[in-house]
Chain length 283, copies 4
Amino acid sequence: MEKAVILVQCPDQKGIVARISEFVFRYNGNIIQADQYTTDPENGQYFMRLSFCFDPDKVPPAHLEKEFDILARSMDATWRIHYDSVTMRMGILVSRQDHCLADLLYLWRSGELPVEIPCVISNHPDAREIVEQYGVPFYHVPVSRDSREAAEKRILDLTSESTDFLVLARYMQILTGGFLEGYGKDVINIHHSFLPSFKGANPYRQAYERGVKVIGATAHYVTVNLDEGPIIDQVVERVSHRYDVQRLMRKGKNLEKLALANAVQAHIEHRIIRYRNKTVVFD
Amino acid sequence: MEKAVILVQCPDQKGIVARISEFVFRYNGNIIQADQYTTDPENGQYFMRLSFCFDPDKVPPAHLEKEFDILARSMDATWRIHYDSVTMRMGILVSRQDHCLADLLYLWRSGELPVEIPCVISNHPDAREIVEQYGVPFYHVPVSRDSREAAEKRILDLTSESTDFLVLARYMQILTGGFLEGYGKDVINIHHSFLPSFKGANPYRQAYERGVKVIGATAHYVTVNLDEGPIIDQVVERVSHRYDVQRLMRKGKNLEKLALANAVQAHIEHRIIRYRNKTVVFD
Amino acid sequence: MEKAVILVQCPDQKGIVARISEFVFRYNGNIIQADQYTTDPENGQYFMRLSFCFDPDKVPPAHLEKEFDILARSMDATWRIHYDSVTMRMGILVSRQDHCLADLLYLWRSGELPVEIPCVISNHPDAREIVEQYGVPFYHVPVSRDSREAAEKRILDLTSESTDFLVLARYMQILTGGFLEGYGKDVINIHHSFLPSFKGANPYRQAYERGVKVIGATAHYVTVNLDEGPIIDQVVERVSHRYDVQRLMRKGKNLEKLALANAVQAHIEHRIIRYRNKTVVFD
Amino acid sequence: MEKAVILVQCPDQKGIVARISEFVFRYNGNIIQADQYTTDPENGQYFMRLSFCFDPDKVPPAHLEKEFDILARSMDATWRIHYDSVTMRMGILVSRQDHCLADLLYLWRSGELPVEIPCVISNHPDAREIVEQYGVPFYHVPVSRDSREAAEKRILDLTSESTDFLVLARYMQILTGGFLEGYGKDVINIHHSFLPSFKGANPYRQAYERGVKVIGATAHYVTVNLDEGPIIDQVVERVSHRYDVQRLMRKGKNLEKLALANAVQAHIEHRIIRYRNKTVVFD
């Protein structure tokens, strides 16, 4: 038996659930979980995540997909399918701060993040040791003002074939629109503030100056607009006037690790649908 | 158009979603939201909350229910239906502490809790003024060791016909198994601790003595086993050694109000299914 | 015995604690609690909150204050003293949304907010009933574009003598710099977002549009810069894509009530020192 | 200049702050931070944490301690002093689950936990690789019912001289009263539940069976009464009916890491005073 997840998005209309669940039933599949969400009962968008089992010997995936596409077209739906037997391949970019990197590598090795990690790329050499200890290839791709283009080309060469998505685990370089277009797949970033507060550089210093009583971290998909992409997860914690910038950063690291790990987990379990610069994250 | 919610529970089996959604489709209904949960992919229990619209002029509710019952039997399912046009009637029991009572009355008057409140009953006279200010009938039913039986009979007389469920908004008397059986409908309690910690009397003092660093409040359905019923919601907050019992109580009141309001809201929106001394609470 | 709180702020220097505590000791006072905070061990600002008892028959307050002032000058300190026997007088301004108002009135009547409430003022007549039920004078002061000046003058007349501080409990009019200067005492506002995110109008709609996964409320002192004043407290909670604007507002109301009540509590217990558009809030 | 922390506990009495701060002042020391807490204004216990700088060339530590002891005796106080120049030595015990161990090692290497780690001891060989990668000595000390006594003797040999405190980072063996007495210093444990709920084995399964809506982790000092020692920190998070035992465990691991790291941080910064099976944790 193969396990698969279908993500569907279409204009809300009568009979969607009936037709999709009947489809699975017809191919003798068994629905494990079906989550759905409609933006608005009247005239809204409909989102579905359907997790089901089927027998690929009796129903070849290619056939299933072809048939589902016919159904989807009749509902004006966009859709994607993911098979449990296919492991997602995650590329990681990182700069000097390695707490998120170390957390992802640990979760990966302990089996909690069932992905492949074909490469870790950094604009600094510092992380080489920790990465190679885990047996993961490390590439040092320095970036300066003049070398940005070449660096992005190098990163693209390293990742475009070998990875299914990228994670910026405190990568402090801005990826250009050209790179994002060239890569063409999802890129997840962790921003060390509670967005939309404190975009840009030094968010902990900004938070300190403003005197906030709660700090946060935000995992989001990267778009060309810096720190403006669809938010996947946010984690927050109380602080007090006693927190100077250093202590805010120390506490913030835990929030960053948590928000990023949550986001990656949801992404590889195909629980996220992007929609109008927002996300539907099925729990 | 009438809006209705069906809650279904049955052994997990192939085709449930297909059959139920096809049922709605057949009667020209429109699914607004469908939530489901299976305890365990193999051999588990299946739970569904289906919110849908239909035209009662074309499909009389009685007919709908009769037909659905046939379908339900074929799946070995238990089920309930609730119509949006029928307002739930909530009875409240309270003792001296009136913060949860005041919160419920305020939410009710501001339209956020769309229920009827046929009566508030207390073993103390203190709450009369606030209750009657809201135009709600107040009954003082004192309870002493000797009068418990008579008191419960009086409460039963006041509530068994006029209410659909009861809320113990800091009612400090224990309801007997006899009462619960006689009432036969749901009773929601707020316990002023993070259950299962600190059952019984004086939980804030117990929390203080144990030196916990987080306190909580728990809303749960009442069963004959005191503080052991199915948990609906829990709300918690950090405290420090600086909190004496008084201050724990003061902070705790906010948690109690929040947990109880959340639980009542979920209950009247028919988002809860009780199962094996636990709850499925659809969000 | 009288209980008092002294709040002190001065450049950090050797011997502050020794000198202040010696001062209390000399007048036979007893320190109940002493909290302090230094922004920065070298060259920083020092803040102290000292709660102590003394015998006003033996040490008249006027004498105590005169002597303390001499000490304070020698340390280049600003300071304030508050006596427990003097009850703070809180004026409330409100518009249509009355949840924060209702919460403050309830806390006041139940004895948890030991203040006097000389008046509630609103630019709408809606809240009159609830306010007068509590036996508090209600004033309807409508505000239109043309009447702003007159309205602010009227509010000033009602509050400048009778109150020690004002609370904007969802008062949706902007107070001018002229008013703030004329009033000259603290004004606390509740903003219905997690500042600095979503300043200005309709923060819940802004939060919905941005797709945040956590919402919040912020209590702060009012300054001429809208939503930019020193933050006193922030309360946050997780939300998901399932929350439409209405539901965000409903959940947000609880956060607003909590943040505002916390802020007022800290204010009347003289636990707050304002400093460079930030606050030191002793716990 | 040397930096030191003094922790003081004594019956509340007049003039404590004055006398202690005067003491520091007399030796030309500079108070960096002074935190205090009194259990109860009348007849309570007084706790103080005093962080200060002094010049050890002018005031030898031995002299300072001798003089302070005289002062302490006069107030019937117990006290301890810690010098910043002396690094705390932390021994770690672990079983199979290595997430807390990995977190502590990472924090240590990144400089956030300024301790020495003379040894990691485990009753299983599994953690050897990760520990030795960090350059820390690893000792495998198997424990069976018959070998407990020998094993505890071996652990005592390894730790009694070389460590200042022990951390049980998911060490699933019970340490006997004999061991604790023999070691005679602080032992910190992480329990994977929100104590006092779910003591003993399999707390996540217990939490699942009870159907709680919030889970937690508790860091506490170990005493002879299992899971009953003074609580240092607790971290909690919301869960829903969708969480099976596996997923509770996965989420719980983050809470365990956080609670334990917080507790160790507070311990090595000498911010904790134990008192009557509770803790005062200065922030």
